[in-house]
Amino acid sequence: KHHAKYVNTLNALVAGTSLENQSLEKIIKATHKSKPGIFNNAAQAWNHSFYWKCMTPKGGGMPNENKHSKLLCDKINASFGSYDNFRKEFAEAANTAFGSGWAWLVSDAKGNLSVRKTIGADNPMVSSGKCCIPILTCDVWEHAYYLDYANLRPSYVDTFLDKLVNWEFVAENLERAVDSGKNWS
């Protein structure tokens, strides 16, 4: 319902405009300062599609060099010191978004990773500079966890990190970021 509404609303808003046949990413980048109504729906549509792929049954935990990617493991250690440090920082970002938002793991074109948090529909791909190609996200809008965890966002975030993260998808996003400086789309 939530994701479908963003998609349907976006389609209605761009119909008959120059944005009508543009890619989601182009729309997001074109509207993020000038057209908040379109931006909110476009970004949320992208964010949710990305989020679904960031999860897999029996995922989560520490990524494995052989199973997932050596590059990913190396970059996590290089950027955070250890997986545990990354996990702590990501959980903190997810738990301290003061409202509806998202926690992100992002990469620059060299594979330097960092954790970001955004509010509302905001996506780090529109951040200035070339810092921020999203490679992993966690939705912390209340609708993402309320029925299952009520107010206990930290329990949801723990479950996401320990049981759901799709490290294969994260590794693919990292490869693409390093090869071409491009987002998943």
């Binding site: 319902k1 409202g99 809008w141 209340e142 309320y146 009520a150 107010n151």
Partner: protein
């Protein structure tokens, strides 16, 4: 008894000062001062710590005493410990508009967490203020706005709700006059506009009816997240509608418009009018 406690504290500190010439001040004495200081509320404590700083104590003694005195009380910001307010009605009293389940989680978990975290932030603020630590004071602003706003907003919210049987749109009086001065279509038009604005909030936030003390008129507006109405816009809050998903998700899932429509049945118009009258008198 408060002034006696303060006098006793000064006495102990002064006695310590006199003995300083003969031997090093004992930290045990500082601890005893701190234990009795814990009974004193913060305004008095601040007075004591200011005295300690300005008196002729050795720098080490006055610094440690000031640090102890400023961190000792349980509750920062003027000795006030914020508490979760009781509701004037049972959790189930607002059904069917809002379920008992939602009320219980919303009040005893969400609001309670804002109160707890506000008290934590206030204690930290107290410590930072007494050290004059500008960096930390600034760093605390996010937590203060979020948790302080959350506490203020929810306290107002519970009070402007009531069981449907007690909810009655006034047929005359200050509120009716103010609404009709602003909206030609009266309450119905006001509800449409406030409702639409509340539904339209992107992400988390609140819909508000507020009083503009400069123009003397009421206005509809929204604020994001837990930003409190008065500190953010200057408007005096009259009626708040929580449109964070936690306010309606259990009962209405994603259909916020249904929740906002239903909440009009449980508005405590008496409280809204009382707030308006009080605000009008401020002019």
């Amino acid at each position: 008894s408060l002034s006696r406690a303060i006098t006793t504290t000064y006495h102990i500190i002064n006695n310590n000062t006199q003995s300083q010439h003969h031997r090093r001040p004992s930290t045990n004495k500082i601890t005893i001062i701190t234990m009795s200081a814990k009974q004193i509320i913060t305004p008095a404590l601040r007075a004591a710590s200011i005295h300690v700083r300005s008196s002729n104590l050795s720098p080490a003694l006055s610094k440690s005493a000031a640090a102890h005195l400023s961190t000792a009380p349980a509750g920062g910001g003027g000795g006030v410990v914020h508490t979760l307010p009781d509701l004037r009605y049972d959790y189930a009293a607002l059904e069917p508009s809002v379920s008992a389940e939602t009320m219980e989680i919303h009040h005893s978990k969400h609001h309670n967490t804002y109160v707890t975290n506000l008290n934590v932030a206030m204690e930290k603020l107290d410590a930072a203020v007494s050290k004059g630590d500008a960096g930390s004071i600034i760093g605390l602003q996010g937590a203060l706005k979020f948790n302080g706003g959350g506490h203020l907003n929810h306290t107002l919210f519970w009070e402007n709700l009531c069981p449907a049987g007690e909810s009655a749109v006034p047929s005359g009086g200050a509120l009716k006059d103010a609404v009709e001065a602003r909206w030609k279509g009266g309450f119905e038009e006001m509800k449409k506009e406030v409702g639409a604005m509340s539904v339209g909030v992107q992400g988390s936030g609140w819909g508000w009816l507020g009083f503009n003390v400069k123009t003397g008129r009421i206005e509809a507006t929204t604020c994001p997240n837990q930003d409190p109405l008065q500190a953010t816009t200057g408007l005096v809050p009259l009626l708040g509608i929580d449109v964070w998903e936690h306010a309606y998700y259990v009962d209405y899932r994603n259909v916020r418009p249904n929740y906002v429509n239903a909440i009009w049945d449980i508005i405590n118009w008496k409280t809204v009018e009382e707030r308006l009258v009080a605000a009008q008198q401020q002019k």
